[in-house]
Subunit: 153 residues, 2 copies
DNA sequence: GCCCGTATGTCAGACTTCTGACATGAGTCA
DNA sequence: TGACTCATGTCAGAAGTCTGACATACGGGC
């Protein structure tokens, strides 16, 4: 069980554990959203639009961690289903501000409740202090990965 | 900026932050592995085999968080490239124990070093205590998501 | 012994996301 | 004004992963 010290120790590697946690969350979300006829990206897009109405295709893509091409495909589907609307012409530049329809808002309401239950379940064993600590740690990781590779101080 | 209190607050949602962190890590890993001609799943498979030689297709799939069908496609490719080997016949049951070849080990060595650098960069701002705390928190989240949905105590 | 449930390996097709490419519009600067 | 850069929307094709299905092998209960 211990013959490869040159590699990364999977059982304690935070990178691996981060992937494991994200994967577990992904599966749990998929399980509750599937009965509602929604995918995770589908839900994420609606949730994002509810909190920040008028986001463009590219902005939605960044917020849901997919490419703008993928988001474009999804938005066209959501538009066909009457869940979101986009103006035929851009008011400024090329960006098309997207808005939720009543139908989109009502679908989101059900999904959002289900997602919130999953998140609360995930955090059931953590008190407020631990949750705040976790926010701190994740924020630090994101910043370190996003910012310049290795800024020599 | 604040008109939707019915949904999940994205800026503080640990579910969203978890996804953001995993996405940032994914991008960073992709960036260092691509020049080596490897994908993340490709690398994960090799790393897993280095630490636990003889894992079967299904076990590798679980360890890398993909389906066994996807892992099967990958394993066939790795076999063609001479990075892993599998016996033609199963020694017991149907499971085929997979092993790294010398070529696989040598490719992994380079990739593993690059991945370790990314992980260390991610954790650069965290001391040993904070890293241990993060392990605890992530483990708790995984357990809560994996175990029974909501066991009433 | 025999049936059944579970786990595995594998093939085939569909779906999702990605990469590559192109055109449009805004801003900067000479 | 004109050239350049950057961001955006969109189309087309490629790559990766998933779902569905089937055959095989082990183990338990009858």
């Amino acid at each position: 069980m211990s013959q490869g010290e040159s590699g990364i120790e999977l059982d304690t590697s935070l990178g691996y554990m981060l992937k494991a946690a994200a994967s577990a969350l992904h599966s749990a979300l998929e399980a509750v959203l599937k009965p509602l006829g929604m995918t995770i990206t589908h839900y994420s897009c609606l949730e994002l639009l509810a909190q920040r109405p008028g986001l463009s295709n590219s902005e939605l893509a960044r917020g849901t961690f997919v490419t703008r091409q993928s988001m474009n495909v999804l938005l066209q589907a959501l538009e066909r289903q009457g869940l979101v609307v986009r103006p035929a012409q851009a008011p400024v530049g090329r960006a098309l501000p997207t808005e939720l329809t009543d139908r989109g808002r009502s679908q989101l309401k059900v999904a959002s409740a289900a997602v919130r239950r999953v998140e609360q379940n995930m955090l059931a064993g953590l008190d407020a202090g631990e949750q705040e600590q976790m926010r701190r740690l994740l924020t630090a990781c994101i910043a370190a990965l996003t910012e310049p590779p290795t800024p020599a101080t």
